[in-house]
């Protein structure tokens, strides 16, 4: 079976906006979501910069039991999923009766685990921890919460693949629908944003210390970058078979054409050209389109010298020098487990509104980024097909190609 797979809903809970409209405005304006976080300074972070979102108040929407098992990843994902469901014209009544799956990207619950252990140390008795913590502590917290809230009856798995988690979640959902095993899948990525989440990562010295100007600190592809900035929130995409979308009268936001993936099988943290190249190449081969067809590349580029350079080389080798490229991480920071999903959503917003969001803070190219067309400013452009890259620790790579829907 080889069915067409379309996207019918997106939802965003992001440091550059809560909801699609706010995010679209930020993408157009090149608005940064990076702030200086005093709490990081107090606990001993080297870099105190982060993208920031507030913890949402879910009491108006969910029962006590539904909320008890949720910490940040699940809370953020509920917000983005609520928005995506509304756009896709889906509700609990429909979902309960029509098999729908969920494959959500998430790769940590550090804040929740530390809260639990703090309680245990204080109370000295596991039976005084409470009933919700176990569901907050598990990596599948988003899946457990959303599948029970929305009464989902299909595939139900969490995808943990470091900073490519969100992208792979869409890719795996796409494959299941394409093969006829699912009609629709809730995909996405969530990233906790508390001080515990990124402490050990900060200790590697890979984060920017551009404290004087937080909005200027994330500088993917720029020669003067000094590291990435962590961020978080959640993004949800509802993907489904074309038949299902048309039958339901759902809006069709784009069609997923190709999913490429690879593993470097190399260093645990250092990126590698070969793995990225193979992921990009596979997505094009699978989509069965020529490289020239790609109108825009949403780069993974996180603002680290080695990672950005490898990606610039891979893009140049496969797609050449002309295709417009930007890294929305210049505005959002690195949304990690969420990034692969949110960046497809950001790119969809650009495709729907005929523009390329700027790679802000790109002022001076380096040896590799000068070979590709990094777009530093808002640029009007009709996008029919885009490619979104996501790469993660452990050498996991994912590339997705999405096309404007044509019947």
């Amino acid at each position: 079976m080889n069915r067409r797979v379309v996207i019918t809903g997106i939802g965003l809970y992001s440091s550059i906006g809560v909801g699609k409209e706010a995010v679209l405005d930020s993408l157009r304006k090149g608005k940064s979501g990076i702030v200086y976080d005093k709490a990081r300074e107090e606990i001993g972070y080297r870099s105190c910069l982060t993208g920031m979102v507030e913890d949402p108040n879910l009491k108006p929407f969910l029962s006590r039991r539904q909320r008890l098992g949720m910490h940040q990843p699940a809370m953020f994902a509920y917000m983005s999923t609520m928005e995506a469901m509304e756009q896709a014209k889906l509700d609990v009544d429909f979902l309960e009766k029509n098999e729908t799956g969920i494959i959500f990207g998430n790769d940590s619950t550090a804040g929740a685990v530390i809260n639990t252990i703090d309680k245990l140390r204080e109370r000295g008795d596991t039976t005084l921890i409470g009933s919700g913590d176990i569901f907050q502590n598990m990596n599948c917290t988003v899946n457990m919460s959303l599948s029970t809230i929305y009464k989902l009856k299909g595939i139900n798995i969490t995808l943990s693949a470091a900073c490519a988690s969100g992208s792979h979640s869409i890719g795996m959902g796409y494959l299941l629908i394409k093969q006829g095993l699912q009609e629709r899948v809730v995909c996405g990525g969530a990233q906790e944003i508390n001080v515990y989440a990124m402490a050990s990562f900060d200790g590697l010295g890979a984060f920017s210390v551009g404290h004087d100007a937080p909005g200027k600190a994330s500088r993917p592809f720029d020669k003067d970058r000094d590291g990435l900035i962590p961020s978080g929130g959640a993004a949800t995409l509802i993907i489904e078979s074309l038949e299902s979308a048309e039958k339901r009268g759902a809006p069709i936001l784009g069609e997923i054409l190709g999913y490429g993936f690879s593993s470097n099988g190399d260093h645990i943290s250092n990126p590698n050209f070969d793995g990225q190249y193979r992921s990009l190449k596979m997505s094009l081969d699978q989509a069965n389109i020529a490289a020239e067809t790609i109108d825009y590349v949403n780069a993974h580029a996180t603002s680290t010298p080695v990672g950005d350079s490898m990606e610039a080389q891979a893009i140049h080798s496969i797609l050449g020098s002309d295709v417009p490229v930007s890294s929305t991480k210049s505005m959002t920071g690195h949304e990690c487990w969420m990034a692969g999903a949110s960046e497809v959503a950001y790119s969809l917003l650009m495709m729907q509104n005929d523009f390329v969001a700027p790679n802000i803070n790109f002022e001076n190219p380096d040896e590799d980024s000068q070979k590709i067309n990094v777009v530093p400013e808002y640029t009007e452009k009709k996008i029919d097909t885009f490619l979104s890259n996501s790469f993660g620790f452990g050498g996991t790579n994912s590339s997705l190609i999405v096309k404007k829907f044509v019947k």
């Binding site: 921890i129 409470g130 009933s131």
Partner: protein
């Protein structure tokens, strides 16, 4: 703690924890149904009792509780 103090105190923390209107917590109402407790909620009931009254009820204690009156009796016995 007097019986009245027990009623006032427990009504406050039970309605807060289980998000139930405190007016529904009356002596002859069924505790499990009023608070809408499932097996997981009994874990949280133990936690809030320990936090507010400094004792930990056992599962055998809960087996003997039907109404809030039974619950107040248990608290009285434990605090005596």
């Amino acid at each position: 703690m007097t019986r009245e103090e027990i009623i006032t105190t427990t009504k406050r923390f039970l309605s807060e924890e289980f998000e139930v209107n405190s007016e529904k917590i009356t002596a002859n109402n069924n505790l499990q149904k009023t608070l809408d407790l499932d097996s997981l909620d009994y874990v949280d009931l133990v936690v809030v009792i320990e936090e507010n009254l400094n004792f930990k009820p056992t599962s055998d204690d809960f087996k003997k509780i039907d109404t809030f009156n039974d619950f107040y009796d248990l608290v009285e016995r434990k605090l005596a």
